[in-house]
Symmetry: C2
Subunit: 190 residues, 2 copies
Amino acid sequence: MHGDLPPGHALTLRGIGKEYEVSMTPAREAVRRLAAEGALTMSTSGRISTPELSNERIEELAALRALIEVELASRALPRAHMALIDRMQTINNAISEAVAHRDAVSYIRTNLEFHRTLYLRAQAPAMLAMAETVWLQMGPTMRALYGRLRRTDPPQFHRLIIAALKAGDEPGLRLAVRSDVTQGLRMLAS
Amino acid sequence: MHGDLPPGHALTLRGIGKEYEVSMTPAREAVRRLAAEGALTMSTSGRISTPELSNERIEELAALRALIEVELASRALPRAHMALIDRMQTINNAISEAVAHRDAVSYIRTNLEFHRTLYLRAQAPAMLAMAETVWLQMGPTMRALYGRLRRTDPPQFHRLIIAALKAGDEPGLRLAVRSDVTQGLRMLAS
DNA sequence: CATTGGCATTTGTGATCACAAATGCGCTGG
DNA sequence: CCAGCGCATTTGTGATCACAAATGCCAATG
């Protein structure tokens, strides 16, 4: 989810088991679960690797993020008090730091933390789980995308999200979240 | 997914293994995967059962269905030719049959087949997978809901969906799908 | 130099087992 | 008759193993 692995990275059950000091059995369960969620792909012969997403698949996942996360943000809005917004601003500073250090993994992790902090307030665990499943599928691809990118400025739409939250502006929040979530697509196109 | 099991139904690895003539190992993998997708729940001690959904959770899953399936229908609309609509009408007749026989499992299965037939045309596998994950979570609950229901008429909104498809009416299709998907909530309220 | 053939190695699969914890049933005592 | 206790049974966990298939390397050949 955090982009620790690049797309197409191969994994083995014995390797995972050794890494976490367990036998093949727990490693297999974890892998099968992640494969079911789309976080890993298994070839017909059972080989395990991180997914290499086609552009169509990326567009689809971005559309799913837009659908689900806009709804989550909308549901969180009435419950978003100043303490929450402050916390999001703190996380946003950490994102700037990660961007400045060109640390893709930190960037992805703090960026997702920013979103999750808001969505937790929506009190909608099933929706949040869906959103996280999408994040899981995009992890390696986001690493590749952000790694390719040469940017030094923090995400502009996060400021819009925070502003909309402060103003209680629901349409503005929906637009800001949709824009933020879809911005990765523009990177892809360029 | 099809409501073969009622909510809260307990399962054991050894029982599943015996039922499908395999050892505990494949049974465990299947159970862990289904648990990860929310189709089964595992207690803290690892006991397995079908989920008993709270009303809040049902509302959330219905909202997810509305979000995702409306999008799928919208994407399928431009590709929905007459052969597809004919097939959907045939399936709709099978639904009427299932309703007449008060067969909850057949009803659920054919109803989902109706939706899947349309959504397959959207060429959006990730979205369809998401929708099916939601279906999976609702299976036992749908069985309980439809089993409680005493109805003899087929779903009214399916006719609206077909009409909107024929007319190429996208807003109408979105509304019809949303209504159809959300109707189960009304059963719950009554 | 590229391609094909074969072989050693790697790798996932499913079964089995020992173990510990949880469960549930029957018994006892009030 | 009911509540509480204790033990036999059930149940999930993780390790290990045998096996078959796939993989990849290396050499032989055109």
